[in-house]
């Protein structure tokens, strides 16, 4: 929806829980029409029951750069944070079905603003940002990477660490147990050394026998 003004333009994008408004001017030097926005002066994001967010172009770019790839990964069931801790906007998973959006002011001494969104609110935000991204009236170059397929290594994040480690740890444990069981088995009897006694017997001398204990007289066996 365009609210006409002499030069200033406003574009508004609505979803159930949020509304994004962009204010700006057409870049006449680039030959843009009077209804386009080529110079973004301000944007504001209104949430139902939450504080309104405002910012400049770089903040909008940071919001899109964090939220859109995050949503792309969620479609593949990979929930991972996006946005550096120093970036103006970052987003991370906050429990099942919840997401934590952090917005940091460029002014020193201002605490970051944290918003907890559920899946539905995040989907609203994604739809609003999609509308902005694909609106032909907004003639701003927005540097956003194209969504790409995830690699095996990235997909492994969706499997819990315990389940990922279960197979290799189970295999290692089985190997250790098998080795321990094998160590407990008695060794097979060594073959009797036969060659040495024969050689000594061939010399005509009997091998020395160990001293035998004196035999005690055996009692007579009882007759049955």
């Amino acid at each position: 929806m365009i609210q006409s003004a002499p030069m200033k333009q406003s574009l508004r994008y609505d979803q159930i829980s949020c509304r994004l408004q962009l204010d700006g001017l057409p870049d006449v030097s680039a030959g843009q029409s009077s209804q386009a926005i080529g110079i973004l002066t301000r944007w504001s994001l209104e949430w139902l029951g939450r504080p309104q967010l405002e910012g400049r172009r770089e903040h909008l770019e940071a919001l899109m750069a964090a939220v859109l790839p995050y949503a792309r990964h969620l479609i593949s069931d990979v929930a991972r944070p996006f946005g550096d801790p120093e970036a103006p906007v970052s987003i991370e998973p906050a429990g099942e079905g919840h997401h934590r959006l952090q917005l940091r002011s460029s002014q020193p001494g201002v605490e970051p603003l944290q918003l907890e969104l559920d899946d539905a609110e995040l989907a609203d935000l994604v739809r609003v940002l999609d509308q902005v991204r694909l609106d032909p009236r907004l003639q701003l170059p927005l540097p956003l990477p194209d969504p790409r397929p995830l690699r095996h290594r990235e997909l492994s994040r969706r499997t819990p660490l315990a389940r990922r480690l279960a197979a290799p740890l189970g295999g290692a444990l089985a190997l250790v147990l098998a080795a321990a069981a094998a160590a407990l088995l008695p060794l097979p009897p060594q073959p009797a050394p036969e060659a040495a006694p024969r050689r000594e017997a061939s010399n005509g001398q009997a091998p020395p026998s160990p001293p035998q204990p004196p035999q005690e007289p055996q009692p007579p066996l009882p007759r049955s």
Partner: protein, 181 residues
């Protein structure tokens, strides 16, 4: 109502087996949400200009039967142009049904109401799964299970919500191509 879903990405590789499975399961979820989903898909394919690819519901059904989880599964590989058409139909249908998807995902409503919605969805999806899918496949058994399948059903609905709308096509296609690139 048709919408511009943005340019088609240049990736012309066919979807992997897992991608075809998910695509068909998500179409089935939309049918579970919309009792006239089958008719809506055919109508949308004509509206989006895919009448040549899917001139009737049998042709549409034959493409979807490439899902290995189906009872009557067709062999061979779907061409990229066919899977792209199915993904676009999926995204536009998800956009039309977005209020229902959102109401399932929202935590802001009464828990009893949300639970009732999920139960209705589970029952309807279960009927469709038993009618069309191979019940011996573990993935189908999980989806049919009232408790163990809850997480997977929620994942499917969440994926549909994030794929709905003008920019959903690229995200969904990239996701279905996972582990290929």
């Amino acid at each position: 109502m048709t919408q511009d879903l943005g340019p088609t990405p240049p990736d012309e590789r066919p979807l992997p087996r897992r991608g075809v499975e998910r695509l068909d399961l998500m179409l089935l979820c939309l049918e579970a949400l919309d009792f006239n989903g089958g008719e809506a898909m055919l109508w949308l394919s004509e509206q989006l200009g895919y009448g040549g690819l899917f001139p009737n519901r049998v042709e549409l059904w034959k493409r979807r039967c490439h899902n290995p989880l189906r009872r009557a599964c067709r062999r061979g590989e779907l061409a990229a142009v066919e899977t792209d058409a199915l993904i676009r139909i999926l995204c536009v249908m998800a956009d039309r049904l977005y209020p229902m998807l959102r109401s399932l995902l929202s935590r802001g409503e009464e828990e009893a109401v949300t639970e009732h919605r999920w139960e209705l969805f589970r029952q309807r999806l279960g009927e469709l799964l038993q009618e069309r899918m191979n019940p011996r496949r573990s993935g189908i058994q999980t989806l049919l299970h009232p408790l163990q399948g809850a997480e997977e059903r929620r994942r499917l609905i969440r994926s549909l919500a994030f794929a709905a709308g003008t920019g959903g096509f690229e995200r969904m296609k990239a996701s279905l191509m996972d582990a290929v690139g």
